[in-house]
């Protein structure tokens, strides 16, 4: 599993997540080139949340918003607990972030993959 960035073929704006229409206000592109997104990034802000939704059974999870060197930003889980600080360099990997989903009020097994940020 990989996470991706999406480059508008008309204006070159890079997006994450995927969009149907280019988010550049001066462009109306609808076609994108998909490329893997990951690696070095910078942590802009973070939180440790203790009240998690149905389907998450751990006592807490750390979340962060990161910025990649090309300016693309992403939200994801932070895969460690100690020494988290805004501004620190991280490494974005793709891993399982959820293993249960709710469908019609029933919690069923279904894995979801997304960013997990780790130490460099």
């Amino acid at each position: 599993m990989e996470m991706y960035q999406y480059t508008c073929t008309k204006c070159g704006k890079v997006h994450h997540p995927r969009y149907i229409v280019c988010q550049n206000p001066d462009c109306d592109g609808r076609e994108f080139e998909k490329a893997p997104l990951g690696g070095k990034c910078k942590l802009l802000t973070w939180t440790r949340a203790y009240n998690l939704p149905e389907g998450f059974e751990m006592p807490w999870l750390n979340f962060g918003i990161v910025e990649f060197p090309n300016g693309v930003r992403a939200t994801g889980q932070i895969g460690f607990d100690e020494g988290i600080e805004s501004g620190m360099e991280l490494y974005a990997t793709t891993a399982k972030v959820r293993d249960k989903v709710i469908k019609y009020k029933e919690t069923v097994p279904e894995s979801k993959y997304g960013f997990v940020f780790t130490r460099l």
């Binding site: 009240n51 939704p53 959820r98």
Partner: protein, 398 residues
């Protein structure tokens, strides 16, 4: 456009409902109708109902809410639509009510907001609220609204030098206001010392989404509120002439990126700023004309940030205004006289309607112990998603 005003307000006691969802909404509706003197059956003048609710379909397994309420209240064949805009569903319902009358499509509109959230576990409730997050870039991670508020708060703390105590000051103020509001969910005072003392803060005010603690956010509440809107040119004809006409002078709403990370300036609440500016322009006022404001403090950081984005205080100084007591009942810019979402409670779809109900009471001079002297202009901000769809309403006492 026709002038539109509010002649009736209704509000259940927020907290835990003991009646079914539709009954709870009807309780608020009937109070608003009785307040105005509106009749049911053959004498009914309500020709449109808008019901704001976010989760009735998910939590109660009830859909078609507006249709059910019209039938229950015996005000058929009134037009009826349910409005869903997350926690701003109520504000959107008011805006649509205004538009329906102003455009001439309707003459008298009943606006109801309602939510019953305590029927499910906290885990399920947290999940259903989180369904408004981006379905690919946010929701799958287990992110919640409190988690986003934590991310936002840390950024604002880094940018403007505020700290956790500033959030507690807002919380203490709103709890004090709620003690004067019989409809508030939590009518208990809270002392600053109790929720900030490092010796026992972990027990009295535990972390929920670092740096946010329990008293930095609203409780989970059930409740409903309702407003009766009428065209100025129909007020006397429909028998509402005895009630003050609290004019809806301005409405505005605006959207922002669904993915919070993709906002140009992550500490900005652009949709709050734009919606307020639209409502001010329509009302022909500036922020300086506002006498009382109900701001969407689902998290205390939002009251501070919204007080800046709406122009009530300069950017980066909202927390200083709170420290100085300027936003208290006795301050020069009272905010959340109702107790706010923090202590009055936050039944999602009800909140926007509840905020405007409070402003109507303030502008009528009927707010009792929490009355702001000589209030003539009120502002409400109802915040959907994590700021990606916001409504603003400006009321004026005629």
């Amino acid at each position: 456009m026709r002038e539109v005003g509010i002649v009736g307000v209704g509000h259940t006691k927020f907290g835990k409902t003991v009646v079914p969802f539709i009954d709870m909404c009807c309780e608020a509706a009937l109070e608003a109708m009785d307040d105005a003197g509106a009749k049911t059956g053959r004498c009914n003048h309500i020709d449109q109902v808008f019901v704001g609710t976010m989760g009735a379909g998910m939590v109660q397994r009830v859909s078609g809410t507006a249709s059910a309420i019209v039938d229950t209240l015996n005000i058929r064949p009134a037009m009826a639509e349910t409005v869903e805009n997350g926690p701003a569903s109520g504000g959107s319902a008011i805006k649509l009510g205004y538009m329906a009358i102003a455009s001439g499509v309707a003459d008298c509109v009943l606006v109801i907001g309602g939510e019953a959230m305590r029927e499910v576990t906290g885990w399920e409730g947290t999940d259903f609220v989180a369904t408004m997050l981006h379905p690919e870039a946010e929701y799958p991670y287990g992110l919640t609204l409190p988690a986003f508020a934590g991310l936002f708060t840390r950024l604002r703390m880094d940018t403007y030098g505020m700290d956790s105590k500033d959030l507690s000051i807002v919380s203490v103020k709103n709890h004090a206001n709620a003690c004067k509001n019989p409809c508030a969910h939590i009518q208990r005072p809270v002392s600053l010392e109790r929720i900030t003392n490092p010796a026992y803060i972990a027990a009295t005010n535990p972390l929920v989404a670092d740096p946010l603690r329990q008293f930095d956010m609203c409780p989970v509440s059930d409740g409903a509120a309702a407003l009766l809107l009428v065209a100025k040119d129909k007020q006397d004809e429909f028998g509402f002439g005895h009630k003050p006409f609290i004019r809806i002078a301005g409405v505005g709403s605006a959207t922002d990126t669904h993915v919070v990370a993709n906002r140009a300036i992550p500490t900005d609440l652009l949709a709050v700023r734009l919606s307020a500016q639209k409502a001010y322009k329509m009302a022909g006022i500036t922020a300086e004309d506002v006498d009382v404001a109900e701001l969407h403090d689902a998290f205390q950081i939002l009251e501070i940030a919204e007080s800046e984005e709406t122009g009530l205080f300069p950017v980066g100084t909202g927390h200083l205004a709170a420290r100085e007591g300027r936003t208290a009942l006795t301050g020069d810019m009272p905010i959340n006289t109702s107790g706010g979402l923090k202590a009055k409670g936050h039944p999602l779809g009800a909140t926007g309607v509840s905020q405007v109900a409070e402003l109507v009471r303030q502008l009528r001079g009927e707010a009792g112990e929490r009355q702001v002297p000589n209030a003539k202009v009120g502002l409400s901000i109802n915040f959907g998603g994590f700021g990606n769809n916001v409504t603003a309403t400006v009321l004026k006492a005629e």
